[in-house]
Symmetry: C2
């Protein structure tokens, strides 16, 4: 897996990820620490809610997506440093037993004017379940390093 | 703490949260599971990165924010069910020892036309550190239940 510098990326480029299985225990453990609400903690209580059954916290899905991203084909130089995130949606719940994977597409590349050694890359990250249905989607702006530029040749007079 | 139904909310209303202290061990534990990158895992390795020191994963901050939200003054009827999220930003890093708290403000309230028992509430959630500096900000759209409407009186003839 090679590292992508800013100059190596192109709009429309896509990257895939591995797969990650979500289980009920993991859903409840995350929820107990970060999102203790009945629909994320208990199968029985979840049935009476809008979710109609146990569902992962959206932030759990986001965290699992980050894990898949870090281990995906896309290795931006400098690592994944998210500056901002837009249009984060959870179109359907993540259920125990779901197997998640990512589709990553580069939407825009903007070299920095003030910091010539880096730039901003806009990418859409879609998290799909085993039925190829989207369970999460967002557009992220990340900071990506440019190739180290050669120092200009010194002229000695 | 009383539950807020859709009709109880007003644009401009604000809510506060408790406080939550972040420590280095928690930062590394979250990162090892969900965001295994040097700047979230190891003080020494983090010094050579854009972060110049250990910093929490943005998704860790988002998860801690959810915990503070669930335990905040704001108790929407039906719980916190996020439909979507916009303008998620991390203006500065969360460091070991930081103490986080939230400011929540209601931006818009939209009763559902198709589902009369519920509506959408837009709120800005700002996560601040002990120096009152924002470390995270987003605008969320959540589903909030309306008060159970009385059945129309039956007329018996």
């Amino acid at each position: 897996m090679t590292v992508s510098f800013l100059e190596d990326l192109a709009v429309g480029q896509t990257f895939a990820s591995g797969r990650l299985r979500v289980d009920g225990e993991g859903i409840k453990r995350f929820a107990a620490e970060f999102d203790p609400q009945p629909f994320h903690l208990d199968e029985r209580a979840a049935r009476a809610t809008l979710f109609r059954g146990l569902a992962a916290s959206g932030w759990h899905t986001a965290a699992l997506t980050m894990r898949l991203l870090v281990e995906s084909e896309f290795r931006p130089a400098g690592g994944f440093i998210g500056a901002s995130m837009d249009a984060l949606r959870w179109p359907r719940p993540v259920r125990p037993g779901d197997e998640l994977r990512l589709e990553i597409v580069i939407l825009a590349i903007q070299p920095s004017k003030s910091k010539p050694g880096q730039g901003m890359v806009k990418m859409r990250v879609t998290t799909l379940n085993q039925a190829d249905k989207a369970v999460q989607e967002y557009v992220a702006n990340i900071v990506v390093l440019a190739r180290r530029r050669e120092e200009p040749a010194r002229r000695c007079t």
